[in-house]
């Protein structure tokens, strides 16, 4: 059935606390878009127009409610000096962090027009914005300071530093924050809505206390910057968010994108303060049948619709590159049907 609203109109209602014609649908299609469009993974990550074209094709193919740009979580770290490798048919890999141990950081702040692959990322956003920005929100993942910092320093040294050298960790986080803000500003200029992504701050990696002390303050700082622009900020943390779900709203995020947590628990922990975005298990997307996906999505949406601040039907993390397209179609179809709002527009809908 043809939608009454465009994705942009639907999202616009969600963020001003108004009912929509149906729940927005957002399987996190990132590098999987390359498969849909027949683009090599390497090209997807190294050519802005290829990334944009792939996203546009994927959005049209699946009928999702967002276009979402994501490189790997080391995007900012790479621009600051960490080294990545780009396999032909696999995701980018961190080959050498900028520092092998915690050090006093330099004064560098990324120049998004010049450093790393930021330019091509921004080109991709601008391309998609010109092509479809009137009807579809263009989202762009921006790695949060905590996750960025772990791509700048040997990860083990960083995590040890949380215990042994907290001041140096904070110095590094402040250093990362400046560049994250610089990228955020450039994303705004390109027409994208930044999504803050902090997977390495999840409960699967660190404790709630470390999240509160080291990740949350810097998420909050970036979000404060984005709120100066009145932007509705999504904070995405994949992995286990059970231990931190009640802390995440303190970041100031307007929407929480979550992964391994029961939706009902997320609603209890954060639902009166934030819209919830989530959270189908991506393993099910990759390995399950279409019927499995549909069934799981129906249950997820039924639970998510109970969130008082609103809900977006999403996957908990990126749709795996080799996910069968029929499973993504099944996700979208089930979410649209289960998320329909028959009362939208009331009797006055013609």
């Amino acid at each position: 059935m043809k939608d009454l609203l465009t994705p942009r109109e639907r999202f616009g209602l969600l963020v001003i606390d108004e009912p929509q014609d149906r729940v927005p649908v957002f399987p996190l299609v990132t590098s999987h878009a390359a498969r849909v469009a027949g683009v090599s993974i390497r090209d997807y990550y190294t050519d802005g127009s290829a990334m944009a074209r792939a996203q546009l094709v994927a959005q049209e193919t699946y009928g999702t409610d967002f276009i979402s740009f994501f490189s790997e979580v080391g995007l900012v770290a790479e621009a600051l000096g960490s080294k990545f490798d780009y396999p032909d048919d696999d995701l980018p890999l961190l080959t050498r962090p900028k520092w092998t141990e915690l050090v006093e950081p330099d004064e560098m702040v990324v120049d998004p027009r010049r450093d790393g692959r930021l330019r091509l990322y921004l080109d991709a956003i601008a391309y998609a914005y010109e092509a479809r920005g009137d009807t579809v929100p263009i989202l762009a993942y921006v790695p949060a300071p905590f996750t960025t910092a772990q791509q700048l320093v040997d990860q083990e040294a960083f995590l040890m530093g949380l215990l042994t050298e907290p001041d140096r960790v904070h110095a590094l986080l402040e250093y990362a924050t400046r560049s994250v803000v610089a990228l955020s500003k450039a994303v705004i200029a390109a027409g994208g809505l930044p999504i803050l992504v902090d997977p390495l701050a999840s409960g699967s990696v660190i404790s709630a206390e470390h999240y509160r002390d080291f990740a949350l303050p810097y998420e909050a700082e970036v979000i404060r910057y984005l709120h100066r622009y009145d932007l509705d900020v999504v904070l995405h943390i994949c992995g286990d968010t059970n231990p931190i779900i009640d802390l995440m709203p303190e970041s100031g995020a307007d929407l929480l994108s979550i992964d391994r947590i029961e939706i009902a628990d997320a609603v209890t922990g954060a639902g009166t303060r934030c819209r919830i975005v989530g959270n189908l298990d991506t393993t099910a997307m990759l390995l399950g049948s279409s019927a499995d996906v549909s069934h799981a999505v129906e249950k997820m949406v039924a639970d998510g619709k109970k969130n008082p601040m609103g809900f977006v039907a999403a996957t908990g993390c990126e749709v795996p590159v080799d996910t069968p397209p029929e499973n993504v179609h099944a996700f979208v179809r089930a979410a649209r049907e289960a998320g329909a709002n028959p009362d939208y527009g009331g009797r006055r809908t013609r």
């Binding site: 639907r10 010109e130 705004i188 027409g191 006055r348 013609r350």
Partner: protein, 479 residues
Amino acid sequence: MSQAGRTGQIPKFRDPVPGRVTFDRWLELFERVPDELIERYHYYGNGDAWSKYLFPPQTFAIYGARHLRRLKFDNSLAALRMWGFVQNETERLFRARQIGKRVVATMGDLGAVPVIVNSFPDCVAFYPDCIWWTPFVTESKVLLDAAAELGIGDATCFSRAALGAFAKHSYFPDPELVIASTGASCDDYSGVEQLAASFASDVLWVEEPVRRECRMSMPECRATVSGTVYEVSTRNFLVKEFERVVGRMEQLTGYNLSDDELRAGVRRANRARRLVSRLRELAYARPVFPAIEMMVIEFGNLHYYSDMDEWVRVLEHLLATVEERVSRRQYVLDEDALRLVWITPPADPLLLTYVEDHGARIVGTEYVINQALELMDEAKPPLEAIAESFLAASLIGSSRARADAAIRQARERKAEGVIISGILGGSHCAMESRLIAGYVKAELNLPVLEFDVAPPAREIDRQLQTRIDAFLELLRGRR
């Protein structure tokens, strides 16, 4: 934010040297705006975070207003505040409903009925008509396509976008009442109103009478504050129509509006109209403010962008900025720029940026909203004052009267040319533009450029660019 916070010292922000700036430049300027200033401005006198509105064009571009990226803006804080306030209106209307205000759609009359609606406590009037700009600002045919699916296609004025907006229920909350004016108004829009009525729960139709040509020497003729002559019987008819508006609003709200309250509503509206009048006087006499901002200011007189009190404060801020520029002789355009009068508002605001970029400036306008610029006589009974001011309306009289309004301004400001931007598909434009052009040429011997604004696009059509360039070249040659 607390009330104390809002009434305290205004944080310092020094306007840059006056000028027109690009979209990208505003991003850099906005970085310098202190947080305290962003926190300072709220609509509906509300302190919640959602009611802030001091945000740059980038904010609205991210949410779909793509055309903003191609415009040039005044670089003052007052202009930034104005754009933030205006661009925020969709959210504001939904918030109005959320906090218990009654949202009333007024259609077609462009300026009169909101004076009545806004006189009721906690009532907000707005014009779906103004959504005609949305397809251009978003560079999108979504609303026009939605209207086409409902039976109004390309052969109709862009105001058909309002029908698409009614159908979608996402551009404004479903109004509790629609007050739709028809009669001596735009034919196309009357058609839009009739179809839009099927989406409304309650519609009151109001008849706009024709303003017949008459002279003060004739018995039973009077003049508006600015001198438009009308027949008393026409005004009396309109008073009766407006009494029906008051009656229906009383039914809706359960509130009996007193004459004093209505009189206060007239005074508040006049406050806005006086400010706009002064801004027009200053900004069209000297190149102290860009045309695009001035168009937004003039159209604010229709319904005050759904918050009259805050809009008046925005206007006061704008006027202070403009007055300072006048006193310092700080201009945003070349003092020697070609002087143009513009007739009929351009649906594509980029046209105003374009002519300014090419060495011209606007010194007078006839944007079909003369009734909203006309002061109301506060000594008269309020409904009579509202009706009388409406009788200065651009569309209820003759084309000759519209031409005369433009001719007066062209003479006063020594205009060198006139541009008439018609509306593709707008039924009155096809007939009227040629007539008005003829009157202007005959009276002033000024070159006139007529064209129809094309459907929404990223850029101005190349052929039209060439025509504008040639027109401006012609004007230069006549110096």
